[in-house]
Every structure is written in structure tokens, then in C-alpha cells.
Symmetry: C2
Subunit: 200 residues, 2 copies
Amino acid sequence: MSTSRQIEIWFEFGSPYSYPSVMRIEDEAAKRGVHVAWRPLALGPIFKNLGWQGSPFLEQPQKMAYMWRDLERICARQGLPWKKPSVFPRGCLLPLRVATLAQDEAWVGEFCRAIMLRHFGEDRVIDDAQLVGDVLLALGVAPGDTIATAQSEPVKQALRAQTERGRQLGIFGGPTFFAAGEMFWGNDRLDEALDWAARA
Amino acid sequence: MSTSRQIEIWFEFGSPYSYPSVMRIEDEAAKRGVHVAWRPLALGPIFKNLGWQGSPFLEQPQKMAYMWRDLERICARQGLPWKKPSVFPRGCLLPLRVATLAQDEAWVGEFCRAIMLRHFGEDRVIDDAQLVGDVLLALGVAPGDTIATAQSEPVKQALRAQTERGRQLGIFGGPTFFAAGEMFWGNDRLDEALDWAARA
């Protein structure tokens, strides 16, 4: 699925550990001359297909409690704003569809970072046309047309198809990276995946 | 549970990601002037108490397949021997009891590394008196007496009590580190935990 000197990031806006990866992947990739391919997917169907009710954190409260503290430490080290979401998991279908629509656009990275910051840095509801529209406007992208297209059947279908492709690739959580055919799971593997891509 | 400039490593010989941590923790701790407190525990009872049948990897074959590849990459980077265990999870009660008995002895680190190397570097059966005896002998420790004591009721009870203490501390997998009261889960957090301990 990967070409040389490219890294794919498979992620969802509801995925906590996707936050720090989404925030820094483009800067880190640029340092290594690696292209970032954005691959938004819906983790809910992935989890259900694996026989889980939803996020594995929901069934493992001890691990979830640890995860929030771990993420807080990661954000502190990375200098990222952090506000624990008051709802988990939080719906993110609209921004996910916009990211799918825009995944090859120059503004996709900035869009993803803006949504992630509102979710994990500000505890905002992100599955919201007003919030997504404001983000688009700040990027100089027409909100009305973009949101309408994002909610059209072809884009819904594109997200479904991408999610299914992710499942077939063996993805079981976010973020997942592919570099030169090699799979790396989790924010902790971002640098290793980038190095792998750079050596390809 | 931690004192200043000390790191606790809670681990099991059957735990794959405990292998790379056990192998390097003493060297890394020494560089930072941090004392290592060895805390062997039995993960089976921990998992069962969380409502799982056993290792979460057993219920998540995709994640388990990924884990083996990930561990192979980690071993390659760390220069560690790697041979995928032909049995998972592998029993480890006898060496676990010896480690419990010896957790404050000068030779405990060397013992743990030797057992881990035989498990994940050589795919050997480690819940075995001959193998454990050979390891003890190489360390200059009397095998017969040590194994007999390890199988005595007080040591069995000490391991049970330590496991229960780990559960109460919120442990849900291995390796888990505690440094100045802060919990860190997973081989990926070893350096962060050591730095935390060094700053304490």
C-alpha cells in the first residue's frame, strides 16, 4: 500500500493516541524527505469486526485510566494543549468525511491538526457542522460546499471503502502507519515508521 | 510504592514485551544512578481478575501477530537474540518463584536476563527444574537448595501476595514500572520511567 519514501497514517479523530501523531507527523516527515499520505478511517467498524463492542478502552477501565494519564504526559512532553475529553469515545463522522474528501489536498494536514486540537486540547464536540465549518473557513476552504460534499453518498462510500481496506491490511487500532509495506501501530512507533520510510 | 531514585519493574517471564526491558533496565538505571527493584508477578491472575481469559493477545489474534513482528524489530534494534516462542503463553512459575525469592539478591538481574534469553532468544521451556538449575549454577548459586526453597509455601505465598499488590496498584500488563509513585506501562516507557526516577 505504500510507495517509497512515503508514510501512511491511518487514524481517526476519536482516537486518543492519534492526536500526538497527527500533530507532528508532517513536520517530522518533512525533516526526512518523506511524503505523508493521510488515511482517515472509522475505528468503530474495525473494532466491531474484531468482535469488540467498541474501543477496547471501554472494556478495560484500568487501561483507559492509565491511557489518559499517559496521554497527558505525552502532551506535556510534546508541548501540546491537553484537556481530557468529557465524552469518550466522541463521534467524529463529519470531520472524518471531510478528511476523506480532502486526503490528497494540500490543506488536509492543517485541517486534521485543527480538529484534533479542538477535540483533545479544548474538549469540544467535533461532529458538528458549525465547528467544522469554522475550521474550514480559517483554512480558506468554502465551508458550505465542502460539508455538503462530505455528506454526499460518494464520500460516505469512500470512507467505508477506506475503512474496509484498513481492515484488510490488518489494522486493529489507531494510529497505524505503513512504510514500505511494513506496519507500525501506535504513536510510539511514529519515529520508527518514519525512519523506515526514509530508508526505503 | 517507590522511594526516590528507584524504579520498580513488575514483570513476568512469559510476557513478551518484558523481555527487552528486563535485558537493559539495569544498565540504563546504572547510567542514571537509579536503583532497580525487581517485582516479579504472575500475570495470569491479573488478567483473570480483569475478566479476561488470559493474555489479551490470545483474544486478539491480529494484535498478537503484530506483536511478534514488533518484538522482532525491537530485538533487532537492541541487538537481542530473538526466536519466536513456539508456545504462547509459556508457563514460568518455577523461575518466577526463584526470582521472587531472590528479588533483593545481587544476582536477581542476571538470573532474570538468563531466563528471558532462554525463553525469547532460544525458545526453551523455562518452567523446568533442570534449566533453572543450570542457570543458577552458572551464577554460582546452589541449585538444589534454591529450587527447593522456591517451591516452599512461604515463597509461593510471597508471589501470590506480590501479584495481589500489583493488582491493587492498577497493573494490567507487563512490564509495568513505578517511579516516584508514577506508573508507566510497557517496554516503550522504560526510558521515560527511568528519567522520572532520576529526577525524583
